[in-house]
């Protein structure tokens, strides 16, 4: 029972992280290792800066 609850809580936490973009850097790293392993990845800070800049260059919010 406790184990189930733990799995369930972990899942909720993952969904929250994914929805908010908290895990964006980890996802970027995973993609980078898979597809561009020959180049050095951006640091967490560099990635986050680039990500925010690009995100707000188009329409992201409605009325």
């Amino acid at each position: 029972m406790a184990k189930r609850l733990k799995i369930w809580l972990r899942r909720c936490w993952q969904v929250a992280r994914q929805l908010s973009g908290d895990d964006a850097y980890e996802r970027y790293l995973a993609h980078h290792t898979a597809c561009h392993a020959d180049t050095a990845p951006l640091s967490r800070k560099e990635f986050f800066q680039r990500d925010q800049q690009q995100k707000w260059n188009s329409i992201k919010r409605c009325c």
Partner: protein
Amino acid sequence: MHNKILSIFIWIVVALLGAAALGGIALNRGEPINALWFITAALCVYAIAYRFYAAWITSKVLLIDPTRATPAERLNNGHDFMPTNRWIVFGHHFAAIAGPGPLVGPTLAAQFGYLPGTLWILIGAVLGGCVQDMVTLFFSTRRNGKSLGQMARDELGAVGGVAALVATLLIMIILIAVLGLVVVNAMKHSPWATSTVTATIPIAMLVGLYMRNIRPGRVLEGSLLGVILLLLAVAGGGWVDHQPGLRDLFDHPGLPLAWAVIAYGFAAAILPVWLLLAPRDYLSTYMKLGTVILLAIAIVWMQPHVKMPAFTQFVDGTGPIFGGKLFPFVFITIACGAISGFHALIASGTTPKLLSNERDIRMIGYGGMALESFVAIMAMIAATVLDPGVFFAINSPAGVVGKEAADAVAKISSWGFPVTVEQMSLLAQQMGESTLFARTGGAPSLAVGMASIFGSAFGQGMLSMWYHFAIMFEAIFILTTLDAGTRVGRFMLQDMLGNIWPRMGETSWYPSVLLSSGLIVAAWGYFLYIGVIDPNGGINILWPLFGISNQILAAIALCVATGILVKSDKLKHAWITALPLAWLVIITSAAVWEKLISPDVRIGFLSAAHSLADKLAAGTLPPEKASVAPTLIFNLQLDAALALFFAALLWIIVLDMLRICIRHLSNKPVPPLSEAPHHVTQLEEAWQRD
């Protein structure tokens, strides 16, 4: 076999329950009606439409292909193109489409009574808005996530492309002005609201610094910090309200507040996004989702009674909040809660790049809009649980009911909605405000409605806290829309100016940034300024203009979709978009017509301009009104020109779409379908479905 029978049985029960709830709402006269019936009717209507209509469209008309690789898979760059779990995409999509529009529109439309608005929110959404969002999402997914403007250009030609671009820019300007006005009216002479809303700016900056420098990319930590600070700011506002010296610092009439909002908008447009826009957006998203969920729980728990009648006498066009008859103005006023053209901009371009499978399009496109429409239903409930007298006292502008409280209550009571000065003072005192009269715009009455629902569910003693929480919640995401809209408008303008002078097109060249941001802010700032000095409250002018422009953007999206359906030889089924399109053309054309030629000064822009000019010439205006009259006259003429321009834009693109369709049907050359070629997905095994 058993499952099938069970399923048929369940859907028959849902249909009967929905029909009973809708019938109860529609046929009830004169008695308060439980809000739970609204929730039941809405959920049943969405469920049936989603299960049958949306499923039929995806399987028989769009021909969704689960084996086809989506752009997210083919163009995966680990960044904006990325196959994502459908629930996560749903969350992103809903957070992006849900704005203040569905909260404000139904609140204003409640002046006709609860029934017209509620019916249109339900019917418009399931037959129009949800279909628009879903087909736009589908067509954009099949075109590598192209934007609406690009699709219009590719599928219909240059005329469609330019029309989409111009409509988007104009709707943005009107939208920001009207939302700015809603915030100004909520903060007017309210030190509590003003200080809380002011505090959200440094809080957002602090969160921005935290997420950039202290703990880079830790979005959840930063947001949690921000949400706690925001709640403290609501409580802190109450403290400020009781400090005689501090209080005066935040106690302002509309005009200085409008200038502050304009200055803020300019600063937000030129500051780096990480400092203000991005953190504010995180906070507003959590606030929005949290409050909507809380409101749903509170309504189901408390089951408040709707006190507004089904229809009021204002269906004849004499309504105090905005002038105009039920047809076409209830449709124009509800706008976003039923059909929102703006969603087409999110459903194309952003969301398609995340879809892992075409199968998810129904849930995200159709389901996302159904949920948005449900938010509009809750806003309608929050507005109509108030005593109608109180609702009209809060929302009627001083220019209509009179400046003095005694005059206002006498006038409103004479309409058959009894209200007293004592009742209003007590309510204002409970909400921690000096007065609640003439707070046109929807935000304060929605906040009073929400506060009374929350208050009865979670404790009456906190009414003033709930009220200011609701105001803060509306203000924070109105300001996010204002920041984001100004920024997008700036990019569009830079893009256009870049065609004339390439240097202006460089989005990071500072002189260009300053000039283009200044132009966009000046454009919406002008309309905001006029709205604030307008004696009839400004909402009367700006909200219909906003509704018209939004519905015209929706018509453009539906034109693109209808054009693609006909070109794909699906003429037989093209009515799924052509029918809502025809309706939008009718209501927007009728609204523009009324706005131009109506002899009623509260509806017709031109008759209002003439009447004001006559009074000015005759010298019958008091001096303070005479000084602003020339500006108001010019603005009314400008509004008329704008409305006419919107209608012309609409008809140009509709006729262009029809021309393309007729050419295609008579086998003449048309721009080819720009659908990306078919690739078989490799994801299916690897991708865990839940």
